[in-house]
């Protein structure tokens, strides 16, 4: 029997309905809409009426804020429809309802299904109703539901058919193989599938479909960086600077004895760190066979003792999933970024989010057909990422969004995280024959099939319709449990090697753990029946880990997992031959050699043409200084993003050293995120991370743009109080689909070379990176993107923020000389600037420090005034034109009153720019700008999309001191506090 209840928020509590009503009117332009009602419908099967009635005022509703109905309320002329999640999608609302009912009944968990019922009141046409449905139903995750009652929630699952053996595969012609790729929707190319054919001919049998799908996943760009591994031949370079860099790259290869290795993007991307290591500049990298996250060895202060710790970091994009389903895509972006360092047995404690979009203020009518409106993308993705991060209890230290028309092709959604753990928690060993692979965490379902290959495919008009199965929903409470387990030394010490299920499911996550494996799919816990062997082998799921442990440790490990409320199941064993075998219903549905799998498919080659760069010289309209400042601060890329940032929990964990916005008014954006390390006790060791990237430079000049991404990220870290010698880099590349066009390949090649030269010149190496080459939609491409993340650890007492602290301080501009392009700082001068500023910070002479980015010095100075509403008077001899010129690597410093102005040298210039003033004004070039007015323009620009202000009346202050507090009159030997930890509590 299925019981049903409808729940509606009372007036005043109906925030969600009112917001949607407003969106439908304002954004969608449904003017006839008078009122929108939103009801939650719950269907429950498997509990009696008495229990169901008890759950109505406790689980399904709250009498204070909700009204409930047993029957669907009268329509009264309203148009009524219902929406439910697609079958098989994780639905947190239903799942939590089911868990709550179990807590009350202390029995089995019942089936719960949730749907939302919409009442559209007013004079609406059928087209209006259709438009609303299109707006609220994203077909990749939800569908219209019936309004009728149902007799059961159970789905009957047909017995899965045996896995198909591809008869005739080995005899297929090239044409037939190409057809096969298209029909089966594979991501591999003809050369790869011919390579498979050769292999299976050698094995003297035809492959199963599971084998082909597994290989397709293994060799996908997402898992294996096919693009980055492609050998670059015949490299034509039209730009003298890039040519010189390429020659230097070839020289470095020679010095390192790598002349014989293929020239490829991967080599260009990773050789910088190898070179710096050979010179003794890059130190402390922790290298192992395990593929988790970038890891460095550090000393961490714990209660005054210097302990050996590991510091890990990782960046990740989820561009494709976020573009088609922004909430789930962005949620799983951060979920995935967390899982890499987590699989390295470390505790992830702070995150950063950098995203790219087209103008979110554009009218919905300008949306490209087949796409979601930018406004919906930016708001829903922010909701998804923050929902996951907030639930899992991860502090988000910095959030920013870049706007460039090219991101209409595909959104950019990057998450980057830092993590740490005591070094002695981690044991790294090659699994030995007889070891057992334990699957930990969530169950396997049909969602999440094809995520890896899907994100590597180009995107076209049909994507929204067809990719349903590629969208996954994150389950943050389960990942929270994984985090708790992996913080335990007793559990971590049992793990020899660990891998997460980010891409490719059982076949890849377990398949990568050891050379020889025997996997039994019948042991894999399932969400529901009916999954066939192929689905079980390749379905990704978000919150799962595979751990290799010794056979003798299995029970102990599973015991610890149960203590943390997690499922743990042995599903595979390590074997002594170098083959991966996967069994299902007694049959070996996969049986391939490690050598073949590890080949990464047929070698690829490509010609590259790096074209001459175009100049970059930004300008902001206006004749007067004031006009230029107003243009600058109402630019989407500089304007206030408080309404976006405030929804991310920035303080969970009680370790946040820099709030996203500083000053008494919490308005000056910080240069970097910074947090104390997650020690048990007190620490002065702090980690930080900062990003650098300007899409408008990179679209003109990929080489210099990428170079400046690195400079900007390092400069921000220096401004925040970290030392450039202790930093590491990790890159996120995001480019258009490269196709077979040498000019398109030239873009990432130029960028990677630029980033390489920056590493070599600055002495800071990149030890990690991720790439995505899928940023195209029909004829539209994303701007060439290389975001540099600089990270490292430093000391609590050095942390510095950019908001002006006092009136009457001298403000200095400390800058290197710039090359002929007026963009690239000279190396020696840049390093001298860093050294000087690091000294000023260490000696306490720098009260606040900032460094210019996209908005140049003008923007940086303006933002320094905001936090404490301290104004700035620029000296008469300063040319304000320089405030609107790119100045990457320049430092703006508020100097303590008693400190001397440092002297200029042959390589750097120290300019006394002006003085901070009490009045909230910005004076320069003979003009005085009212900063309150400029701040208002800056604040209101994006408020229509990301609101964060609302005026309200004063309330009376309550003062009650009539009664004395109670006094405890017992005595106790020892105080005890009980802190119950519920799933999802921190």
């Amino acid at each position: 029997m299925v019981s049903r209840i409808y729940v509606e928020k009372k007036p005043g509590f109906d925030v969600e309905a009112k917001q949607l009503e407003n969106e439908l009117r304002m954004i969608l332009g449904i003017e006839g809409l008078e009122k929108l009602r939103l009801l939650n419908r719950y269907d429950v099967e498997g509990i009696d009426d008495e229990l169901f009635d008890r759950c109505i005022p406790t689980v399904f509703s709250e009498p204070q804020s909700d009204v409930t109905y047993n029957e669907l309320p009268e329509a009264d002329g309203a148009k009524v429809f219902a929406v439910e999640p697609l079958p098989g999608q994780f639905d947190q609302r239903s799942d939590s309802a089911s868990e709550c009912i179990q807590l009350i009944s202390q029995g089995e968990r019942p089936d719960v299904k949730n749907a939302k019922v919409y009442y559209l009141c007013g004079n609406l046409s059928d087209e209006d109703v259709e438009a609303v449905k299109n707006y609220v139903i994203n077909p990749v995750e939800s569908r219209e539901a019936s309004l009728d009652t149902v007799s059961t929630l159970k789905t009957s699952y047909p017995e899965p058919k045996p896995v198909e053996i591809l008869d005739g595969f080995n005899e297929m012609s090239a044409d037939e193989l190409q057809q096969f790729i298209d029909q089966r929707g594979l991501a591999m190319d003809l050369a790869d599938i011919e390579f498979c054919q050769q292999y299976f001919t050698g094995e003297k049998r035809n492959p199963t479909i599971t084998e082909i799908k597994m290989i397709d996943t293994y060799w996908s760009d997402h898992c294996r960086h096919t693009t980055f591994g492609t050998q670059l031949t015949d490299i034509q370079i039209d730009d003298a600077v890039v040519q010189q860099a390429f020659d230097e790259y070839m020289q470095i290869r020679h010095e390192l004895g790598r002349d014989e290795k293929p020239v490829c993007l991967m080599d260009m991307g990773t050789i910088g760190a190898k070179y710096l290591k050979s010179k003794g500049i890059l130190k402390n990298q922790d290298e192992s066979e395990e593929i988790n996250a970038c890891t460095v060895k550090i000393k961490c202060d714990v209660d005054g003792e210097q302990q050996d710790w590991l510091f890990l970091f990782k960046n990740e994009t989820h561009n494709h999933p976020t573009e088609i389903e922004p909430f789930g895509g962005a949620a799983t972006c951060i979920g995935g970024a967390i899982r890499d360092p987590l699989s390295g047995r470390s505790y992830v404690y702070q995150a950063m989010r950098v995203t790219g979009a087209a103008n979110p203020l554009a009218p919905v009518s300008e949306t490209i057909p087949g796409k979601l409106p930018q406004r919906k993308l930016v708001t829903t993705a922010a909701a998804g990422y923050s929902s996951y991060g907030n639930q899992i209890g991860l502090a988000t230290g910095q959030v920013d969004e870049l706007y460039h028309p090219g991101y209409a092709a595909k959104r950019m959604e990057i998450g980057a995280v830092v993590a740490a753990t005591p070094a002695d928690h981690v044991r790294r060993e090659t699994p030995a024959p007889g070891d057992v692979i334990i699957l930990l965490g969530g169950r396997t379902g049909r969602d999440g099939i094809g995520g890896a290959t899907g994100s590597s495919k180009a995107h076209n008009m049909e994507s929204l319709e067809e990719c349903g199965a590629e969208v996954q929903k994150g389950n943050a409470p389960v990942e929270r449990k994984l985090q708790r387990l992996f913080r335990r030394k007793d559990a971590c010490r049992l793990i020899k090697r660990c891998n997460d299920f980010g891409a490719g499911g059982v076949s890849v996550a377990i398949g990568e753990l050891a050379d020889g494996l025997s996997i039994n799919l019948n042991k894999v816990p399932k969400k529901y029946d009916g999954l066939d062997g192929t689905e079980l082998a390749i379905s990704e799921s978000q919150e799962r880990m595979a751990c290799a442990v010794a056979a003798a440790d299995v029970d102990e490990f599973i015991g610890y997992a149960h203590e943390e409320n997690l499922e743990a199941t042995p599903v595979a064993t390590v074997t002594d031959d170098e083959r991966v075998r996967i069994f299902w219903n007694g049959d070996a549905i996969v049986d391939v050699s490690r050598e073949f799998l590890a080949s990464n498919g047929a070698p690829k080659q490509m010609k590259v043409h790096i074209e001459a760069a175009e100049p970059y010289a930004p300008s902001w309209d206006g004749n007067t200084f004031k006009e230029r400042m107003f243009s600058l601060e109402t630019d989407l890329n500089t304007c206030c993003k408080r309404g976006l940032v405030d929804r991310f929990d920035s303080t969970i964990g009680a370790a946040t050293v820099l709030m996203p916005f500083g000053g008494k008014y919490q308005m000056t954006p910080s240069m970097a995120m910074a947090a104390k390390l997650p020690v048990d006790g007190e620490t002065t060791t702090v980690s930080g991370m900062a990003w650098g990237f300007n899409p408008y430079i990179m679209e003109k000049n990929q080489f210099t743009g990428a170079y400046l991404s690195v400079v900007e990220s390092v400069a921000k870290m220096v401004a925040a109080g970290f030392e450039h010698r202790n930093l590491y880099l990790t890159f996120q590349e995001y480019f258009e689909k490269l196709r077979d066009e040498p000019e398109r390949w030239g873009k990432p090649a130029g960028a990677v070379l630029g980033a390489l030269m920056a590493q070599v010149n600055l002495g800071v190496g990149a030890i990690g990176g991720k790439d995505s080459m899928s940023g195209s939609f029909e004829n539209l491409d994303v701007p060439p993107t290389l975001v540099s993340f600089a990270t490292g650890v430093g000391s609590l007492d050095r942390i510095t923020s950019p908001e002006f602290k006092k009136a009457g301080s001298k403000v200095l501009c400390i800058h290197p000389f710039y090359g002929n392009d007026r963009l690239t700082p000279e190396t020696k001068g840049l390093l001298d600037v860093f050294d000087l500023v690091e000294d000023l910070i260490a000696s306490g002479k720098a009260l606040s420090v900032s460094t210019p980015g996209y908005g140049c010095a003008a923007d940086a100075l303006f933002k320094m005034t905001l936090g404490n509403r301290i104004g700035l008077k620029i000296n008469d001899d300063v040319d304000v034109d320089t405030f609107f010129t790119p100045a990457y690597g320049t430092m703006l410093v508020e100097l303590a009153a008693d400190a001397e102005v440092p002297a200029s040298t042959d390589d750097l210039t120290v300019t006394f720019l002006g003085t901070t003033v009490e009045s909230y004004t910005f004076s320069a070039a003979g003009e005085t700008i009212d900063l309150a007015e400029l701040e208002e323009a800056w604040e209101e620009k994006l408020e229509p999309v990301f609101p964060y202000r609302a005026k309200g009346e004063k309330v009376e202050a309550i003062s009650y001191d009539k009664k004395l507090p109670l006094v405890y009159d017992g005595t106790i030997a020892k105080q005890r506090v009980i802190i119950p930890v519920f799933p999802g509590n921190k």
Binding site: F13, K18, N565, I799
Partner: protein, 234 residues
């Protein structure tokens, strides 16, 4: 650690929690997103657990027989309100006139540093504070708007059960979102039971440590936990 892998595990967790409560003087319910704040409303997971008769009785023994204290912060405050422990001092069924904590007026999560002012020192948790003291602390929540009928609000004011209010830089409570991030009536941040031994508040007093929030000037720590502990020791 509450375990719900199976019905037996749930029953065991209930039994364990009862034992632990019976051996404690303080129950502290921390922040978080129990059950992901679903279905559509916060803390339902916690309240479902505490409404188990054995747990309810253990809580009553702690409060009524052993003069214990309870503190709920953020998600914990939501749980206390929805159980009735604040403002009523007991676990009771909810009706339409009970106060509640609901979605912020802005309709999304809010995270920042706020200022709060102590309005009443009725609660032992404020043993180390004076009325009028202003403290800074982070808030981070999606459902922190305190709502109650006017009559209930009047009673809470009269009984000294309004513990703290959000205030601006000028020290005054306000309905302005910059001051009062969730739109709570009377700018209420925390309330207590009639005798003050149960306190619920949204602000994260506990997210405090040496060297945090360096870009926020004039931080002022709220010695709340110290107050609660001193109730037993002084």
């Amino acid at each position: 650690m509450i375990n719900n892998l199976s019905p037996e595990a749930v029953a065991q967790s209930t039994q364990k929690l009862v034992e632990y409560i019976d051996n404690s003087q303080i129950i502290m319910i921390p922040g978080g997103f129990s059950g992901g704040d679903e279905p559509d409303g916060s803390a339902k997971f916690i309240t479902a657990f505490f409404r188990a008769p054995a747990v309810t009785e253990a809580v009553r023994r702690l409060l009524n027989e052993r003069d214990g204290l309870i503190l709920g912060i953020c998600n914990g405050f939501q749980a206390l309100v929805k159980l009735g422990l604040v403002p009523f001092g007991d676990i009771k069924p909810m009706d339409a006139n009970c106060p509640t904590l609901t979605f912020n007026t802005i309709g999304r999560h809010q995270s920042r540093i706020v200022r709060t002012r102590v309005a009443s020192t009725l609660s032992p948790w404020f043993n180390h504070c004076n009325v009028g003291d202003i403290h800074t602390m982070p808030i981070s929540h999606g459902e922190g708007r305190f709502v109650a009928p006017q009559k209930v609000l009047d009673e809470l004011v009269a009984n000294g059960q309004i513990a703290t209010q959000y205030v601006g830089i000028d020290g005054m409570p306000s309905m302005d979102m910059d001051v009062n991030p969730n739109g709570s009536l009377l700018s209420i941040e925390g309330i207590t039971s009639p005798d003050g031994r149960v306190l619920g508040k949204m602000g994260h007093t506990e997210r405090s440590a040496n060297g945090l929030y360096q870009n926020i000037p004039d931080l002022s720590y709220q010695p709340l936990i110290e107050g609660g502990v001193s109730y037993f020791t002084d």
